[in-house]
């Protein structure tokens, strides 16, 4: 139970789904809530902000229970998906809005507005109207306005989804920078996992109203607790456990001999494309002595150039295997290899703690 930061235990039921989420964000952290559409991430934000009523559970911010407080008394600022800049006010008036509420005098307001604008790299924009601003500029004004209210918690609801790719990259860095400069606890909602992985201190993966996994980006990416999280957080290949006997080479010769033991329920394996080695890829020789799965006679179906690597989709015995390669394969048929240490196992979508395939220590 953190004394500082946000601790939520949210319960609410709606027409389409029931929300039951618990998570904690440490003070000063930038946490990302990520999940597919309809998983309840925006709803979560609205519950935290108080825009939707809670049905049970608790909401603690910096030690205080804010669950009963009306929206305008929670000191939680929110940036909405459409930015919600007031069209009848110019940039300065928009940002000064919360300052006026806090009864700052005119000179102080002017000064703070100027400071905030330079924080978001929009110096001199005071007199412009929101209709004149580009998407990225609007987003930054919305951010500046939210910060003006001196919040204890900042909520961002898919702030970058309306922008183009390049701008998104640039702005997410800006958001990270601003966060670091102000040190405000931030919760950021997105459906883009690349965004989440790049800037978040903590990632909360949600699905159908529930938190599937919570933790650092690296943990979630490399050790996804469920098949859902695994496939959501990045690309990969899912194969039924039954292919193991056909493809396993050099099973572990350590203390634990390999036993092919399919478990009750849907037993599957999963691995990421960057861990698949393509046979004639000279740069990544397969250490053939290590236990690995070998897929012979995989046919290359598509080959996309991604800039720094090629993304291949290969067909092997009716399954599609995704892999990355530094070079374009010269032949149509290739052999693929995946080290067993890189393979995760799931039963009915849930991860199995032990990895029978990998020798201990790897």
């Amino acid at each position: 139970m953190a004394d500082n930061g946000l601790t939520c235990s949210l319960k609410a039921s709606y027409k389409d789904f029931t929300l039951d989420a618990q998570f904690t964000v440490q003070a000063g952290e930038l946490a990302c809530i990520i999940g597919p559409s309809g998983c309840g991430k925006s709803t979560t934000l609205q519950l935290i902000a108080g825009l939707l009523p809670q049905e049970g559970g608790s909401l603690l911010l910096n030690g205080q229970d804010i669950g009963q407080k009306p929206v305008h008394q929670r000191h939680i600022a929110m940036v909405f998906q459409d930015y919600a800049l007031f069209p009848h006010m110019n940039v300065e008036q928009n940002i000064a809005y919360p300052l006026k509420i806090r009864k700052l005098n005119r000179a102080k307001r002017k000064e703070r507005v100027a400071r905030l604008l330079s924080l978001v790299a929009l110096e001199g924009y005071q007199k412009r109207r929101s209709q004149e601003l580009s998407g990225g500029e609007r987003q930054r004004v919305a951010l500046a306005r939210a910060l003006a209210s001196d919040p204890q918690l900042l909520l961002l609801d898919e702030p970058l989804s309306a922008l183009d790719a390049k701008l998104r990259k640039h702005l997410r860095e800006e958001i990270r920078r601003i966060h670091d400069e102000t040190g405000i606890t931030t919760v950021y909602v997105t459906h883009d996992q690349e965004e989440a992985l790049s800037i978040a201190d903590r990632i909360i993966v949600m699905h159908a109203g529930r938190v599937m996994q919570e933790g650092k980006g690296e943990d979630i990416y490399h050790n996804p607790a469920s098949l859902f999280v695994a496939t959501f957080m990045g690309e990969g290949t899912t194969l039924p456990y039954s292919i193991i006997p056909k493809t396993l080479v050099n099973p572990s010769s350590s203390s634990e001999p390999f036993v092919f033991k399919p478990l009750e329920g849907k037993h599957t394996i999963f691995f990421r494309p960057e861990h698949v080695m393509v046979q004639d890829d000279r740069n990544l020789p397969l250490a053939e002595y290590l236990p690995h799965l070998s897929f012979k006679q995989a046919e290359v179906q598509s080959c996309e150039f991604q800039g720094d690597h090629y993304r291949l989709a290969c067909s092997w015995e009716g399954h599609t295997i995704l892999c990355h390669s530094s070079y374009r394969p010269k032949t149509q048929m290739v052999t693929l290899g995946v080290r067993s240490s890189r393979i995760r196992e799931y039963v009915d979508g849930e991860s199995i703690a032990k990895h029978p395939l990998s020798p201990t220590g790897e």
Partner: protein
């Protein structure tokens, strides 16, 4: 986006609609209740028989069918005439456009007898149009015998209502996203197909809204039908109600008929409400206006635009202008020739000794203006408070919205009857009379102001309000600083409409005001009632003038809204 179903603001939302509910209750529901209850109460006590009788009597059913028929046909024709105009206005810019729009609501607000007589002066067998044609083509008989027939009813309804459809639909059309049409054409559809399959369905909310307004107007139409129809074969519910209430003094039977009438119009209203919410969800503050600085490109286009402008000017203005011209005529001496004269205006302004009623005209003008100003001022907060309460519970059929619109569905005869039954229990002097008149006008104006402000209010994204709340502003402050400024245009338009409606209101005013309060329409009616038709025209001209100025101001003020 989820509605703001916020528990903490419950108190705010409970209090806010109170004043409007109180006003509506006192001045609409209570009188209505009195009227309708006499349908169920006879000397023997409570009974449903009378009502049952009315509903099953074949004559009543026949009248109801006729009423529905003429209202439907009138509405359809009005739509047919109005839609091309709406298209022209939404797509092109041309001279006289703003003026047409400004004038389009005038027939709606002036007393119907002026409308009827204006129509007669213009289209009648002895009217301007026939006179002109006869002298042009040297005819002995008037060529256009349009009046005093069923088609005259439809025609009169059409020409008086198409401007308002045109105005409502075109302003909605202007804001439609033009990309859909572009997409349709790239997919291979020609212009006609695009219009029918892509544009028309999206225009539906505006069309239904305008059409329902017109339908109700035609449904409750009274003088137009009797005078211009030419005879009792065209009897409507209103006439029957009037007959029972006024001629036979059977308020019970009148009430039973009223019940039937109200049920029909309320059903229509419920359907209208449901369709509005369903359809209007799609259009929010999206893209700004499409580019309308086009001038018609082809010669055909130019010709059509010209034709349309001329004919609308003719039909909207013709009868109105006739009334105006009439007011400047007076017959002097024994010769029958009438010549230009400012006689009536001199009397009106008390510059000359007035004959009969003209003496009170100036006082009536002042009264009317004062009352109208008060009404305009009071309607706004009431309508706003209702809008707030309505928006809060968007997903459920808004009872409050229905309530607010109801006064529009009930005819003035029925309301008059109700006021009448109540006022017999009240006694009071001058101040009370004024207050009651203002309140009655308020009730009549509310539906119109509501339908002006509510759609605009619904367009404000909830995120604006939420944003303001998260920035620390309480609910009231959010309303005052965020929602209110964005509604400025709609509020102004609504106030203007309320002002104009109040200026032209006759029936309720006559019933409630005792003889010491006179308003412009009342004096006008009295003038007509005492043989002084020209004097009435003079007053009518003033009324038309005031409405015109006020609508023109509103039309030009609309230009300054916030693009989004």
């Amino acid at each position: 986006m989820r509605k703001a179903n916020n528990l903490q603001y419950k108190r705010f939302y409970r209090i806010v609609p109170l004043p409007s509910v109180v006003v509506l209750l006192l001045l609409f529901f209570v009188p209505l209740f009195f009227t309708l209850s006499s349908a169920f109460i006879t000397e023997e006590g409570l009974t449903f028989l009378r009502v049952l009788e009315v509903f099953t009597d074949s004559y009543t059913v026949k009248i109801m069918l006729f009423t529905l028929l003429q209202a439907t046909l009138s509405t359809l024709f009005s739509l047919l005439v109005a839609l091309p105009g709406a298209y022209l206005i939404a797509t092109y810019s041309f001279r006289g456009k703003r003026l047409i729009l400004a004038l389009s609501a005038i027939p709606f607000v002036i007393p119907s007898i002026l409308v009827v007589l204006g129509f007669v002066i213009f289209f009648g067998n002895n009217g301007f149009l026939n006179g002109l044609l006869m002298s042009l083509f040297n005819l002995s008989e008037p060529p256009l015998k349009i009046l005093y027939s069923f088609k005259a009813i439809i025609l009169a309804h059409t020409f008086y209502n198409f401007p308002i459809i045109m105005s409502l639909v075109s302003s909605y059309w202007e804001h439609l996203d033009a990309n859909c049409e572009a997409a349709s054409q790239t997919l291979g559809a020609n212009k006609v197909q695009t219009f029918l399959k892509v544009t028309l369905p999206r225009l539906l909310p505006a069309i239904i809204s305008a059409a329902s307004l017109v339908f109700l107007f035609c449904f409750n139409s009274f003088a137009i039908i009797l005078v211009l129809g030419g005879g009792p074969q065209y009897t409507t519910m209103e006439v029957e109600i009037y007959r029972q209430a006024r001629m036979l003094g059977n308020s019970g039977a009148a009430a039973a008929l009223s019940l039937f009438s109200i049920l029909t119009t309320t059903l229509l209203l419920i359907w209208y409400n449901a369709s509005q919410r369903r359809l209007a969800r799609s259009e929010t503050y999206q893209n700004s206006k499409r580019i309308i600085e086009k001038r018609p490109a082809t010669l055909l286009g130019k010709l059509l635009a010209l034709l349309y402008t001329l004919s609308s000017f003719l039909f909207i203005l013709g009868p109105i202008v006739s009334v105006v011209i009439r007011s400047f005529m007076a017959s002097s001496s024994r010769s029958a020739a009438e010549s230009f004269s400012l006689k009536w205006y001199r009397q009106l302004l008390s510059l000359e000794r007035a004959t009969g009623h003209m003496g009170s005209a100036l006082g009536a003008l002042t009264n009317s203006t004062l009352i109208a100003l008060l009404v305009a001022l009071c309607t706004i907060p009431v309508a706003l408070s209702m809008c707030i309460a309505i928006r809060r519970r968007e997903s459920k059929q808004s009872f409050l919205e229905l309530l607010g619109m109801l006064p529009m569905t009930v005819s003035s005869v029925i309301i008059g009857l109700g006021y009448y039954l109540i006022s017999s229990r009240l006694r009071g002097g001058l101040p009370l009379g004024y207050v009651l008149v203002v309140l009655a006008h308020l009730v009549i104006a509310i539906p119109f102001v509501l339908r002006t402000i509510l759609p605009e209010y619904r367009k404000i994204p909830l995120s604006y309000m939420h944003s303001s709340l998260t920035l620390g502003a309480g609910r009231i402050r959010t309303f005052l600083q965020i929602e209110l400024p964005l509604l400025k245009g709609a509020i102004f338009t609504g106030a203007i409409f309320a002002f104009a409606l109040s200026m032209g209101e006759f029936n309720a005013t006559l019933t409630l005001a005792n003889s010491s309060i006179t308003t412009l329409p009342i004096v006008m009616y009295r003038l007509i009632g005492s043989y002084n038709f020209q004097g009435a025209c003079a007053l009518g001209t003033i009324l038309i003038g005031v409405c015109t100025i006020v609508f023109i101001v509103s039309e030009f003020a609309k230009g300054g809204t916030y693009g989004r």
